[in-house]
Symmetry: C2
Subunit: 193 residues, 2 copies
DNA sequence: ATTTTATTAGAATATATATTCTAATAAAGC
DNA sequence: GCTTTATTAGAATATATATTCTAATAAAAT
C-alpha cells in the first residue's frame, strides 16, 4: 500500500559511488546525489537517515566486493593468488578501486555509524583477520605474530603499494606490477620455512 | 613602525600541523588554530590569505622535511639507504609522518594554490623525479622506464607500504619493517642487471 | 469510490565555519 | 609627545550544505 517508488536505495548508492569515485568524497552532497538520480533531496532522506549512512553503505558495498573474492582465494590456501587479486580487482573495477584505495574510510563516512553498519564493518575486519590467521596456520603448522606480519606485508601491503601509483594517475595497473608482487611474495614468504 | 607582533606565522603553522596530525585535516578550522595559539582569528588572516594557504604551507613544510634527507641519500647513490629513510624518518617525526602519509594532499589543501606555493610544490615533484632519474642512470648506465619503475617501487612504494599500517595504528614501525624493505629491495633491484 | 500511506516534491531551516570588517593598541621614528 | 601603521581583537557577514518540514501524489486495500 502507499505510492509505488520511483527511486530505489540502490540508485542513490550507485550515484554516490559514482560521484565519490569521480570527484572525491567531498563532492558527494545530498543535492548532487539527488541530482544525479533526478530525484528530490527528500527522497534521499526517505531512504537514508543521513549522508553519513549513505556513504557508509557505499563503503561497505565496495569493500565487500573486494574482499569476497580475496578471502575465497586465500581460503583456498593460495597466498600468491590472493596477493595478485588486488591488481586484478583494480583492473576490473576502476571506480570502486579509486574509492577504496584512494580515500580513507573516515574521509568517506566519519565515526558516527549506526549499530548495524558498525557490525557489518566489524565483521569485515574480523573475516580478514581470521582468513590471514588460517592461512598462516596452514602454511607453517602453527601461528605466530612474525609469520602473520610477513604474510600481511606480502599479500596485502605490497600489492596495495604496487597499485596505488596507477590509481592516482587514473590508469590501470600494467602487467609488470604482477611481476613485482610475485617476486616480493616469494622473497618474503621464503623466509617462512 | 607599527605595533610589534605577539604571534608569528610559524606559530600558526605549528598549531595547524599539530591539530591536523592529531585530529585530521577537517579539525583544522581557523578558530581551532587561533585557539591553539591563543590568538584572535584576525591574526591568522593577518598572516595567511586563507585556510587553504596556511595548510599548503603546512604540507610544504612537512614534505620538504621528508624529502631533504631522502634526496641527499639517493644522490649519494645508495638506493637501499634511501629506501630505509622512510621508516627512519617516520620514527623520528611521528606527527609529521601521520600528516604526510595518512592524508592526501588534496584533503589537506585543495586545488586553489597561489602561484608561489604551486611553484614550490612543482619543484618538490621535479626534484624527486630528477633524483630518481639520476639514480637509475648511475645504476644501469642508461635510462629506461622499466628500470625507473622498478626503482620507484623498491625505494618509494614498498617502504610506504611497510610503514603505513603502523602509522594507522599510531605506533612506530618496528625494526622488522626494515628487514622487509631490505629483502624486497634486493629482490627487485637484482633484476636490474 | 474511498481510504490509507509510502513516496515524491522541494521549500524552509539550522549549523558550521571561512572570511571580512571596524575599532582599539602599542611600539617605533620623528 | 605626536604620528604612523603593523598588529591585535573579536564581532559581523557570507556561504555552503545537511537536515527538517509541510504538502501533494498515486497506488493498493477495502
Amino acid at each position: 500500500m502507499g505510492r509505488t517508488a520511483y527511486y530505489t536505495s540502490e540508485q542513490f548508492v550507485d550515484a554516490a559511488l559514482k560521484i565519490a569515485a569521480l570527484q572525491g568524497p567531498a563532492a558527494v552532497t545530498i543535492a548532487a546525489v539527488a541530482g544525479e538520480v533526478g530525484a528530490p533531496v527528500g527522497s534521499v532522506y526517505h531512504r537514508y537517515l543521513s549522508r553519513n549512512t549513505l556513504l557508509a553503505e557505499v563503503w561497505l558495498r565496495v569493500i565487500s566486493s573486494f574482499q569476497e573474492a580475496f578471502l575465497q582465494t586465500l581460503d583456498n590456501g593460495d597466498g600468491l593468488a590472493a596477493a595478485l587479486h588486488t591488481p586484478r580487482w583494480v583492473r576490473l573495477h576502476p571506480a570502486e578501486a579509486r574509492l577504496l584505495l584512494l580515500y580513507r574510510r573516515e574521509e568517506l563516512a566519519d565515526g558516527s555509524w549506526a549499530d548495524d553498519l558498525k557490525e557489518k564493518a566489524r565483521r569485515i575486519t574480523r573475516d580478514l583477520d581470521c582468513a590471514v590467521r588460517n592461512y598462516v596456520v596452514r602454511m607453517s603448522g602453527k601461528y605466530d605474530q612474525e609469520s602473520a606480519d610477513r604474510a600481511v606485508f606480502a599479500i596485502i601491503d605490497v600489492p596495495y603499494a604496487a597499485v596505488i601509483r596507477y590509481i592516482r594517475l587514473g590508469r590501470k595497473p600494467p602487467k609488470k606490477v604482477d611481476d613485482y608482487i610475485r617476486q616480493t611474495y616469494s622473497t618474503i614468504m621464503r623466509k617462512e620455512k
